[in-house]
Symmetry: C2
Subunit: 340 residues, 2 copies
């Protein structure tokens, strides 16, 4: 089968590899019908994360179940399914509390790779959610987005306690930040301030529900958010980048007693305890428990209440995956869909 | 009037100073009827915080209103009152959201000093809460505790989302940690694990509601908490120390999706973003908004439902304040009450 493999930073190839197969009796194998490239795939691409050996890429997926292990009960061959970027049993206390991304049996799908013709999905009953009916092309894109970027943006908005009467600031205008705006709007936020300098992303932010755009960054960006909020700062801030600067901006833009939901994979961030202490904001972040939200997100998508799939602005056949990585690295594309 | 003044680390004296007076029209002056020494007073005493010049000490108080400014409306001369260690207007959006310790007009009482015969209380209407009836000697001690250590422990328990069905771990066995146990119990926690090595404090912890004692610290302490909680970790953890070790212990002892309420004044703490990201716990801490809880706490105390005043295990006249500092520094006393 074809699979995208990163051989070194900047060196991504579509290789021919052994077909995915059931290994554990709780596994399923799906025929991937669409995959995509994630902002987090750029960390190794840019050499910020090590690439020790050729690594299978991709952790977002929609597909049709091809084969199931002996212990799989709830998912059947032929089902159209979506799952999160973390496989989870969905039964342990951590899963039951809604934190499936930290399941005691968690398997990171990125270590398996879903930018491929087929993918092995561990803990299939816990991980996969069946899609009812037959999605349109637009719905298929949105379902693929639900697998990570939508689910992650949604978690960030929930973690930031976005809701009625709230002013939400969003740091980061990648796919996750943009879909955090969609989530905040859907959760009833009164005002949504997108921090973005790119006109195409500003447009999408506005389309998803942003009421204000702030182009300033760092201390200036914080000052502007305070100016827009009567000097107080945002009630809720979504952080969707993962750098020292973006975390400082998110915490600084939030009023005391407010909430920061941070989902940008943290790279080189150090928080001073004393700054955090006197900021007096709630911090919740980490790998998003997308599985918690999938049933609701699938329903919202299949009933055309949300259209997160519009974040895909470049579509390439899997053979040309390398071009997709390059386009995202150079910010010529927000989110690249790979067809199979 | 007499006032406790720190002249240098380790050098605390009871000096004769000018009597407190109304400065702003929103001030009140109270005759302090009891004051006390706080664990946080030990930071400068130990030289961990600078003492640039002679500094008035104390930020906890109960007293009788002696004089009010022209704009004070809700508090009258003769009222017996308790207030928080942060003066607040109680009307700004931050106060209204329950974060009075970060009021836009906040005044830290520690900068004014309440280990004295009289104290100026800024923003009297917002800061002070009238005590109904005449407290007994035991109730007076408890009301004094409400001013900081009880209110702070209570906030920590609320921030950690202690409640029915929850297992709460408590890092720190000073007065705040101990009263965090009392708060967690009162909030309905099912199981409360006190981390303590001192038998006298373990006894008080048990009296306040601790169901388990863990003597191990650091990684061993974390392992023990996990062992006691089916491998998951605590749902809720109260951090009441403020060091790198105690924060690491608190975060490590908490299960993914759990909550850490941290109220130990942070000294030299640095949190690695990546560790925090993958811990996936909620963090909320800072100077406790004691004012939020005061009406409820005063009611619980005056109806003898809680007895936090038992944390005071040494009572000294204000002239002998220096002995009290020494006793707390040497851990011979948990909490020292100063009589006037």
């Amino acid at each position: 089968m074809r699979a995208v493999v990163m051989h070194a930073p900047g060196d991504v190839r579509t290789d021919e590899v052994a077909k995915a197969a059931v290994v554990e009796p709780t596994d399923a194998v799906i025929r991937v019908t669409a995959a995509c490239i994630c902002g987090s795939d750029l960390w190794p691409y840019r050499g910020i994360e090590n690439v020790d050996r050729p690594s299978p890429m991709g952790h977002e997926y929609i597909g049709v179940v091809e084969e199931i292990g002996d212990e799989v009960k709830d998912i059947a061959v032929g089902d159209l399914v979506v799952g999160s970027f973390v496989a989870s049993d969905n039964t342990c206390e951590i899963c039951q509390a809604g934190f499936q991304s930290r399941c005691v049996h968690q398997v990171m799908m990125g270590a398996i790779g879903t930018q491929a013709d087929y993918a092995r999905i561990p803990l299939a009953d816990g991980t996969l959610v069946k899609v009812p009916g037959t999605p349109t092309a637009a719905q298929t894109k949105s379902l693929l987005a639900a697998s990570d970027v939508l689910g992650t943006g949604w978690f960030a908005a929930v973690a930031a306690e976005a809701g009625p009467g709230k002013t939400v600031a969003v740091v980061g205008d990648g796919a996750v930040g943009l879909l955090g705006i969609l989530a905040a709007k859907r959760l009833g936020a009164e005002r949504i301030i997108a921090m973005s300098r790119h006109t195409d992303r500003q447009d999408l932010a506005t389309q998803f529900g942003a009421t204000d755009i702030v182009e300033e960054r760092g201390e200036e960006g914080i000052a502007r958010i305070k100016e827009l909020t009567g000097g107080y700062g945002a009630h809720s801030t979504i952080e969707a980048v993962g750098t020292q600067e973006s975390m400082a901006q998110a915490i600084g833009a939030t009023r005391p007693g407010g909430h920061v939901g941070y989902v940008g994979v943290s790279h080189g961030v150090e928080l001073q305890g004393q700054d955090l202490f006197f900021a007096t904001v709630s911090l919740l972040g980490g790998p998003a428990p997308v599985r918690r939200f999938l049933p609701e997100l699938i329903d919202l998508i299949m009933t055309d209440q949300i259209d997160p799939g519009v974040v895909f602005d470049l579509e390439l056949p899997i053979e040309r995956a390398a071009e997709g990585y390059k386009a995202m690295d150079e910010r010529r594309a927000t989110k690249v869909l790979l067809t199979l």
